[in-house]
């Protein structure tokens, strides 16, 4: 069974289509890059998978079932927003996750908290944006989920932190689990990708293995996408 399957998935906002007939399959044990420009529909797709948006038509199945309690128990999701109650401290956030997710590893979370030099007792409202992002990443990666959905985990951080974040992701995801990682910073991430899903103006423009793309096109994924947009630009002229 596929980990995720999208069937003719459409999403409109006030009649404006954001996702157009998306058909997609994601297997277990893969690291998949969901690539595309800002506004291409990456976050919309991710939010539908996480039950935060209701599709206009079509459906998404997670291990054969519609998003619900069961899918939420196996998906660990990192949104772009700060989704923690700002009155909480990291310590309280850790016990919150421990209370609700049976796959949450408190020890790992506390170890990562120390690694990241975060204060267990500092209020989240008093933290910088970078600190909050780190805290959320550690919470999400402290779960032994079957699918990690990471929405722009590298946005807005400096290159040194990017490496640290990628390391954290690689060293903490469970064997056999998949990672769906959305980004527009392709070059930073492409070396860890198994597969590439490229979404453009709400449509799946490409779904291929990363190596296949490199061998066929004889260039990096990043270069391929730059070329793709250049071609499109000249097409329009």
């Amino acid at each position: 069974m596929n980990l995720i399957e999208c069937k003719d998935l459409c999403k409109e906002f006030d009649g404006k289509p954001v996702l157009k007939n998306v058909n997609l399959k994601i297997e277990s044990g893969r690291i998949i890059g969901l690539l595309g420009k800002n506004g291409a529909g990456k976050t919309t797709l991710i939010k539908i998978i996480n039950d935060l948006l209701t599709p206009t038509s079509g459906e998404v199945l997670i291990e054969g079932k519609k998003p619900g309690v069961e899918s939420k128990a196996v998906i660990s999701y990192l949104p772009e927003r700060t989704y923690l109650n700002p009155d909480m401290t990291p310590g309280q956030a850790i016990s919150f996750f421990h209370d609700f997710y049976s796959d949450f590893d408190t020890e790992r979370a506390e170890r990562l908290l120390q690694d990241m030099n975060l204060d267990k007792n500092q209020k989240i409202s008093k933290m910088s944006k970078g600190m909050r992002e780190k805290l959320q990443l550690l919470l999400v990666m402290s779960r032994d989920a079957r699918l990690y959905v990471l929405d722009e985990p590298l946005g807005g951080v400096d290159p040194a932190t990017r490496d640290y974040i990628l390391d954290t992701i690689l060293s903490n995801f469970k064997e056999g689990a998949s990672i769906l990682i959305s980004t527009h910073l392709i070059s930073d991430i492409e070396r860890i990708l198994d597969d590439v899903i490229f979404i453009d103006e709400g449509e799946i423009a490409l779904s291929v293995s990363a190596d296949e793309l490199r061998v066929n096109e004889n260039e990096s994924i990043d270069e391929y996408f730059r070329r793709y947009y250049d071609v499109r630009k000249t097409d329009k002229i």
């Binding site: 044990g29 893969r30 690291i31 490496d163 990628l166 390391d167 690689l170 060293s171 064997e175 070059s187 492409e190 070396r191 860890i192 990708l193 198994d194 990363a210 190596d211 490199r214 061998v215 004889n218 260039e219 990096s220 994924i221 990043d222 270069e223």
Partner: protein, 125 residues
């Protein structure tokens, strides 16, 4: 050990090349036990799947072998290692000759350049 990758070629092929190099140069010793796939992936900062693929490739080349339950080991077959080493040397030489040919030097001239290089002979590191 330091691993650097270009994004325009499959990462696993580059991994194979670099691991081969470490084996033939003796940086990973003959018969040495390799860390687990996951540990190696972390060390090289690549996806575990990619590392797995690279190791499978090395296994088909017989440079490493799997001992049930104990993990993966570098081959103890010295002649095989030597053969790979020579293959590398040939490739490097070919590349040098090709580059020189592009500059308009013949094979003889190119090798003369090598003979004329000044300085002490470097100890291989």
């Amino acid at each position: 050990m330091n691993f650097v990758f270009d994004n325009d070629r499959p990462i696993y092929i580059q991994l194979v090349e670099q691991l081969e190099k470490y084996i033939v140069s003796g940086k990973i010793g003959v018969g040495e036990r390799l860390p687990s796939v996951r540990e190696l992936a972390l060390l090289t900062k690549v996806n575990p799947n990619t590392m797995q693929k690279a190791l499978m490739e090395l296994e088909t080349e017989k440079l490493i072998y799997t001992e049930r339950t104990n993990g993966k080991f570098v081959t103890t077959d010295q002649t095989l290692i030597q053969r790979h080493k020579e293959k590398f040397a040939e490739e490097k030489t070919e590349k040098y000759l090709k580059d020189m040919a592009e500059l308009g030097f013949g094979r003889k001239e190119a090798s003369a350049y090598i003979m004329n290089v000044e300085g002490e002979e470097n100890e291989p590191d």
